[in-house]
């Protein structure tokens, strides 16, 4: 049945070469943990992507209940966590995944660094990876405010104060991030917009570039 559906679509759209091109290629021996167990360090990039997918999915579901508004944000998070079935799990995935993604991305960066994989011709992918890192930190920072509890509020205040200490343009950055004179209603609205629209959009574009370059250039050789 499934096979018939697949073949019906494939007959018209010719999707087999597409996924073959994406998924069906050889994994070199030196990155395959089945050959050398120590090659598990090559898994960190894929694991980062796996967690990123979970973040996107759990985030989409959380917005079914969450309201980005200073009067209701905390109450809606409290409601979705304690009153909605599996709310604690879905929010837990997003909460712990946010930290995990940073950890895994850091390990991935270390692997790339210590295997020298960033060298010519892959410097551009290193730069894209660094930009991705920055976007991920931005996602973490903007998401932190959204529950609108004490931790969220003061962490954001501190983060914005740090940004405000940049010479010359600090105040401009502060005003842009706050959307007003204080961390308040306008801040949570724009942090929400950044968190669910702008930054994920940039993230997906960067990830696409990252993966296309890997396929173009191949995995770097053994040490």
């Amino acid at each position: 049945m499934l096979k018939a559906v697949y073949e019906w679509i494939d007959g018209r759209l010719d999707i087999t070469p597409m996924w073959r091109d994406v998924a069906d290629h050889e994994v070199p021996e030196h990155v395959n943990p089945a050959h050398h167990f120590s090659a598990f360090v090559y898994c960190f990039g894929g694991l980062t992507f796996f967690i990123t997918v979970i973040q996107i999915l759990s985030g989409m579901f959380l917005t079914m209940y969450y309201v980005p508004d200073i009067a209701n944000a905390y109450a809606s998070v409290d409601y979705l966590q304690h009153k909605v079935a599996f709310g604690v799990i879905v929010r837990g995935m997003h909460h712990w995944g946010a930290s995990l993604v940073i950890v895994l991305m850091f390990l991935h960066t270390l692997r790339v660094f210590f295997t020298g994989s960033y060298k010519n011709p892959r410097e551009m992918n290193w730069v894209i990876g660094m930009l991705t890192f920055g976007v991920m930190l931005g996602l973490g920072f903007t998401g932190y405010l959204l529950p609108w509890d004490n931790k969220a509020y003061f962490a954001t205040k501190v983060g914005i104060e740090i940004a405000a200490s940049v010479p010359f343009i600090g105040e401009t950055i502060q005003n842009f991030l706050q959307g007003g004179d204080i961390v308040g209603a306008e801040t949570i609205a724009r942090f929400f917009a950044l968190h669910v629209f702008f930054l994920p959009g940039v993230l997906l574009a960067l990830l696409a570039a990252h993966f296309i370059l890997i396929r173009k250039q191949g995995i770097s050789g053994p040490l």
Partner: protein, 179 residues
């Protein structure tokens, strides 16, 4: 990836078709992948459909009117009920048209038109005296709420409880008075 026809049987006399190593591995991989994807997706689906599976809230009875005031002429009474709307709880004003039927039975009708949900009024159309009338598309109802025109069903009624000379109203249910 069905390869069963490509492999040559190792023992020509053994007709038993065995699973190839590749098949076994791809099934195992598929099952493991499905297990992991399910572990991620199922909680999210359950989370999303929670409103469908929540039990309906029981509506408490509210004191609305004095029994001695009710006649055969419908009169609208307003009362407050607590509405729990997710994380927002607020008192909302409700209206009921309360009267006694020809058999002397007390009933309270919901003012929500059964056509498309506008609010009906009593005796508001001079051409149709002593009827409920809806201004949106001219639905009409008898005093007991029976639908005369436009609307596909009679007006809903409130559950009624009478205690110590007072009328208490509860949840809304389909009309049981109009015949």
């Amino acid at each position: 990836m069905a390869r069963e026809h490509e492999e040559q049987p190792m023992h020509p006399h053994a007709p038993r078709r065995q699973m190839t190593r590749r098949q076994f591995l791809s099934y195992t991989l598929g099952a493991a992948g499905a297990f992991m994807a399910g572990g991620v997706i199922i909680p999210m689906i359950r989370f999303a459909i929670d409103p469908l599976l929540k039990p309906k809230a029981v509506v408490p009875f509210v004191k609305v009117a004095e029994l001695s005031q009710i006649s055969s002429q419908p009169v609208s009474y307003s009362f407050q009920t607590l509405q729990i709307d997710g994380w927002i709880e607020k008192n909302v004003e409700q209206t009921a048209w309360i009267a006694k039927s020809s058999a002397g039975e007390l009933f309270a009708l919901s003012p929500v038109c059964k056509h498309l949900g506008c609010t009906i009024d009593w005796n508001s159309n001079p051409q149709h005296p002593n009827e409920f009338f809806c201004p949106c598309h001219a639905a009409r109802y008898t005093p007991e709420g029976k639908n005369l025109a436009i609307a596909p069903a009679p007006l809903d009624e409130y559950e009624v409880k009478i205690e110590n000379g007072f009328v208490y109203l509860g949840g809304i249910r389909p009309n049981t008075i109009a015949t």
